[in-house]
């Protein structure tokens, strides 16, 4: 259900582009008769319909029903699920936490990714090796990452042991036990896991820069710092758009890393929306969980669209 939101919104960027080029293409050449009969597409359409369209459509139906573990039938129930969701005190807190989580992840994932891309930009054998190494966390299961970090950051875990031997006295910081800082720690883990992907996209952006512009800058006497801020970073705008958008949307739909590290604790201060939804689903209140998923979808759309539009506009200005 959580995918709904991602898919719905990520479509916004490409569809704009694809829509535009399709219109242009249709103007250029007259529509030719298709080579295959339309029903050749039926198997693909059926798969699309059953595994994508239908679940997504149902996500707009179930929130208005009384679907739960306790009834044999599913009846229309109006807005009562939304009323329960709104009355529940956890909802506003969890929206705040989810947004904070998303912003922090966007910062860390892009910060780490960009730094790595700049460090490993040149095509040496050393750099190629380390690009692969830094990409590895992207391929590891998010749950595995979460459990590994939980063990490392435990009060009697490896990190505290290392710190103890360095400091010369016993260190037992509860890294995952602070109501203020644990959210930051978890977002750092999230950023660490996905930084390889951001790095790859920034690398692609850096590689595709027109060399003549950079050469002109050099001839004009721009130093590397000046070249970066005035030319290379602005030219990276499309990569920034993509990375920030995917980081924001991906982290708003986060579940696995948080579940494995803190399960929403301590004191519910890392309870992102999907953990909350999972909790309600576990109580057998399926329709109410669907209603929450719809609320999350709306929030993601409301927050992501302006961000995407803003970032796209920034690309055009430059």
């Amino acid at each position: 259900m959580a995918d709904t939101a991602t898919i719905g919104v990520t479509d916004v960027t490409p569809s704009k582009k694809a829509g535009g080029s399709a219109r242009r293409a249709s103007r250029r050449r007259p529509r030719s008769k298709p080579d295959q009969p339309w029903w050749f597409a039926l198997p693909a359409l059926a798969v699309f319909g059953v595994f994508f369209l239908l679940p997504n459509l149902l996500n707009f139906v179930y929130p208005f029903t009384n679907w739960s573990a306790f009834h044999a039938d599913i009846k229309f129930a109006g807005l009562s699920n939304f009323r329960s969701v709104l009355q529940d005190g956890s909802m506003l807190r969890d929206i705040r936490i989810t947004v904070e989580y998303a912003v922090l992840v966007a910062l860390f994932q892009n910060g780490f990714g960009l730094a790595l891309a700049l460090l490993l930009e040149r095509d040496t054998r050393f750099n190629r090796f380390f690009r692969a190494v830094f990409f590895l966390p992207v391929l590891i299961s998010a749950l595995a990452v979460g459990y590994i970090f939980r063990a490392l950051l435990a009060q009697d875990g490896a990190l505290n042991s290392v710190l103890s031997s360095l400091a010369g006295h016993h260190v037992d910081t509860p890294w995952l036990g602070s109501t203020t800082w644990t959210l930051v720690v978890v977002t750092l883990i999230h950023g660490w896991k996905w930084m390889g992907l951001a790095m790859l996209i920034y690398l692609a952006g850096l590689k595709s820069m027109p060399t003549d512009v950079l050469e002109a800058a050099r001839i004009d006497g721009a130093g590397s710092w000046r070249t970066f801020w005035s030319i290379r970073f602005p030219l990276l705008a499309p990569a920034v758009t993509f990375n920030v958008t995917t980081a924001l949307i991906g982290s708003m739909n986060t579940f696995d890393i948080v579940q494995a590290t803190t399960a929403g604790g301590p004191g519910s201060e890392t309870e992102v929306f999907n953990i909350y939804m999972f909790r309600v689903f576990g109580q057998g209140l399926y329709a109410q969980a669907s209603a929450m998923s719809l609320v999350l979808f709306v929030i993601v759309v409301v927050l992501a669209v302006p961000v995407i539009v803003g970032l796209r506009r920034r690309e055009n200005v430059q």
Binding site: G49, H71, A72, G265, G267, R279
Partner: protein, 436 residues
Amino acid sequence: MRRIASSVAVVCALGLAATACSDATAGGSAAAPTQSVNATASLKGVHLTMWVAQNSVSEPKQVIDAFQKATGATVSTQVIPDPYESNVPTKLASGDKPDLMFWQPTGSTLPFIQPAKNLLPLDNEDWVAKLGKTEQGLGQVDGHRYAAIVTSPAVLGVYYNKDVFKKAGVTKMPGSYDELLATAAKIKSKTGVAPFFEVGGDKWPLQWQVQVQLTDLPQSFWDKLNKNQAKWTDPVVVNAIKKYKTKLLDAGLAQKNYKTATFVDQGKAIMDGSAAMALNVTSLQSEIQATSSTAEMDRKLGFFPISNSSAKALYSPDQTNGVVAFHTGDSKREQAARQFMSFWLGKDYPDYIKANKVVSVEPSVPNPDGLPQTAVAQAKALSTATGVFQVKALTAPDMHLALADMIYGKKTPQQVAQAAEDQFTQVLKARGVSGF
């Protein structure tokens, strides 16, 4: 145009498919079978499936082997991953159904699997009369019996370290919650050892200190609560939470790392004497049994029951205690499932409890040898024990989650009670209970 027409057709077809959807757990209701079963009658060629949880995988092994040998039936187990109590209803909703399954035999958890539709009523089975008094009261909902009680419910009480008690000079076990707190204070001042080991890291045991204080509430309170005429925000509940916070946690009667400590740590701490007491259910004993011998446990550990104003225990059934049989529509398999239960609680029961080293649920079958003293003490306390709120309330709120928020200062005792009340009314409203 044709393309548009075809896409419209596809969308319409999908729309129709969507509206045709219904809950797959729906089925027919049935009356309790009255004809008796012969526990060892031949069942050649009959295959039964049993769902088990991650922590009950090995529990039915002995009885399955013996049953297969005695009847010729085959029984296979399928593990449903944790959280069991939410994954099972989801799996049932997808149309999957076993013949037998472990399930918490309480009025608050049985409704999750729609017993009237899905389960075989077991009102007239031959094993019902064999069960002990407390066990007989379990496994029922809406006037029908749906679960066989195969092991005795977990007992809630205090596990204590004998050495620490000796050092502190405690000879008389406390007889009420206030005396328990006084004993704790005495232990702290005399020995410096943390009197209680609390488990904020695993959250669920946090509820016990509150539950123990609710034992004086009369049955009429729970009846009213279940009709929405009384609330979880009742002063008795709020004061119990407040007392736990101010008189125990804030008064320094718990160990230093009570916010993050885990259940496994709790077992270790009361065994090595770095904490004096742990208020917990039988699973703590099982956890310690996994790493310590019976002799070692008998040397170091004791158990005493406690309630708000008496020395009585509480009992808390869980998924490992009850077995339900499904209404599958295949009369041969339904009959075989009943036969399996009859075999389990009949002919095989002495061997079963011996193999699993558990106490007996049947007064006519004596406990096996080699049980730790704490287990025997619990079995003794069970006859006068009262149920935890999971037994008395129509649905059990996750009070421990709100309590975990409280120990981090994110909720007041009043807000903890309110969170329980909110969840309670939400679930009962969804269940369509009158008054909600």
